[in-house]
């Protein structure tokens, strides 16, 4: 860490070595992606082969070519309940609303309780109990209480998203470096300024980590809500496929949801990298799975 002249750090590392390191990284990326495609192809091919050689019963387990055909039908002819895009949009809307509301509530309450001993002591037993019950069951209640529309799904998604974000925000608030808090106080920060400019950015590392899982929970909330009762959406599409003993339909619905989740994950990672620009690269590096 000893640097004798400040100028040393201002100059970039040797350009040639940087370039060769970059091309090495690109090569590794390509290799990994090729292997991923091969793995996926192998699994799907094995599945298809298993069906063709009568080792797998497609009535129960579907088959890749059938799923592909189903997707094609949905895209070209639409689904029995309207176009595929409509179903995706409905589910996405429920999930995104649930995600945004759940994350906001989780962050605000997590930080508030993390900053306030009294509130933390007051609420902690209730939150622990609420977290340990299987909340997904509440979906049945919400469907009855709020009907087949948007509201019941959004509320279920909120309930699922909230706790993960809440616990991370709470823990992140508790883990803020005491030195930084002292420094802010000395420099003249009010309690609110400290919360906004020290606690929040510091807890952000924790909060962002929880967002990856949270969008998945929001999707689960929306889809399960639709399975329990809806007039539109991917969950309903899966449900009616199931009612028709159409295994390929169920799996095709799942594939569509999987793609949505992947896209959302990429967006969240991009957001994370933007917001955490201040972190040293070895911490912010792409260690995501």
């Amino acid at each position: 860490m000893a640097v004798h002249q400040p100028a040393v750090v201002a100059v970039d590392a040797d350009e040639g070595s940087v370039r060769s390191r970059i091309s090495g990284r690109v090569r590794r990326r390509i290799l990994i992606n090729v292997c991923r495609v091969a793995l996926l192809g192998g699994a799907l091919g094995g599945w298809e082969l298993g069906v063709n050689t009568n080792h797998i019963d497609p009535f129960f387990w579907g088959q890749p070519s059938g799923i592909y055909k189903q997707l094609k039908t949905w895209i070209t002819d639409g689904t029995p309940q309207g176009s595929l895009a409509d179903q995706i949009l409905v589910t996405l809307q429920e999930a995104v609303y649930g995600f945004l509301i759940g994350v906001s509530l989780g962050v605000v309450l997590g930080i508030a309780l993390g900053r306030n001993r009294f509130l933390a002591d007051l609420f902690s037993p209730f939150i622990k109990v609420a977290n340990s019950i299987p909340r997904i069951v509440l979906g049945a209640l919400f469907t009855v209480a709020f009907g087949f529309g948007l509201t019941s799904k959004v509320i279920l998604a909120v309930v699922l998203v909230f706790f993960g974000v809440f616990f991370n925000a709470f823990q992140g608030t508790r883990e803020v470096d005491r030195n930084l808090l002292s420094n802010a106080r000395i420099l003249g920060a009010s309690r609110w300024q400290t919360t906004r400019q020290v606690v929040l950015p510091s807890a952000f590392t924790w909060i962002l980590a929880s967002l990856h899982i949270s969008f998945g929970f929001a999707l689960i909330g929306a889809v399960v809500g639709e399975l329990l009762g809806a007039d539109k959406g991917m969950g309903l599409l899966i449900r009616s496929a199931q009612n028709n003993f159409n295994a390929n339909g169920v799996l095709a619905g799942m594939a569509v949801i999987g793609v949505i989740a992947l896209v959302a994950e990429a967006l969240i990672t991009a957001l994370e990298n933007r917001l955490l620009r201040w972190r040293p690269p070895q911490m912010a590096g792409d260690a995501g799975v």
Partner: protein, 273 residues
């Protein structure tokens, strides 16, 4: 600068600080400590590790309250964090998510200055600590010495009348440290706050200070106070070899040595029992 020189910038009278230890006992970090620092005076504090140097600073800053005794800054008892006090912490305390400019501008911004005014002042201070051109960096992109400069500018921009420094340069290598000492003296001459400068390094203490206080092994109290009447402006690297410096060094080291040995004997006894 205070208009009435008779009032001490910092004054501790009969200060005792106790901590509850995790094992349920009580640890006395300071006992009956008396200390005063005049306005514009540079006071260095040396003492063995664990004798309560950092604790003294947190009491003066108002971050912690004394268990007994009074702490005054500018003649007023300290009841909480006081506006005219700056503090450079023992470990890095710059905000890692703020750019260098925003870190330095933080103090004025917290105190209600507009963004423009705060940024202008911050740029000026960055120039003074030799970091012009690094405004947009994040702290992790700086060297350890540069981060210390950011911390220094961050404290000085509030123009404190009292500046508390807790081993600010301890983590730096010897050369960088003596450069930083000279720069600190240059900046201190400009605004002349009263300073308490905690250090392990006796040479650094003598080179910088008007007064060196030696604390006893914990619980800390004053063992001896030494006036340093070396002429200013000083250059830390050159002053080291003068006769006056060498004789002061051996005199203070004599007082410090027995305390260091006591503290050391205690810590090894703890390990062996």
């Amino acid at each position: 600068m205070s208009s009435s020189p008779s009032i001490n910038a910092i004054e501790l009278r009969g200060v005792t600080k106790r901590f509850a230890t995790p094992s349920g006992g009580i640890h006395t970090a300071l006992r009956d400590l008396d200390m005063e620092v005049a306005p514009g005076e540079f006071c260095a504090v040396v003492g063995p590790t664990g004798c309560g140097k950092s604790t003294t600073l947190t009491l003066v800053s108002g971050l912690e309250k004394a268990s007994r005794g009074t702490v005054k800054v500018d003649g007023r008892p300290v009841t909480g964090v006081t506006p005219g006090v700056g503090f450079m912490f023992q470990t890095d305390a710059v905000f890692p998510w703020k750019s260098v400019l925003d870190n330095v501008a933080a103090g004025p911004r917290f105190r209600g200055a507009g963004r423009r005014k705060a940024n202008d002042a911050a740029r000026d201070w960055l120039r003074r600590v030799g970091l012009a051109g690094f405004e947009d960096r994040y702290p992790h992109q700086l060297s350890g010495g540069m981060r210390k400069r950011v911390a220094l500018a961050q404290s000085l921009i509030n123009e404190p009348r009292v500046l508390l420094m807790d081993e600010p340069f301890a983590a730096l290598d010897v050369q960088t440290r003596s450069i930083m000492s000279d720069e600190l003296l240059g900046l201190w001459e400009q605004t002349r706050p009263a300073v308490i400068f905690v250090t392990h390094d006796l040479e650094e203490a003598i080179a910088l200070a008007d007064k060196v206080i030696v604390l006893t092994a914990g619980p800390g109290r004053i063992k001896a106070t030494f006036r340093i009447d070396l002429p200013r402006p000083r250059k830390a690297q050159e002053i080291r070899f003068t006769d006056a410096f060498v004789s002061l060094y051996s005199e203070i080291w004599e007082a410090l040595r027995s305390e260091v040995e006591t503290a050391y004997a205690r810590s090894t006894a703890e390990v062996t029992t």
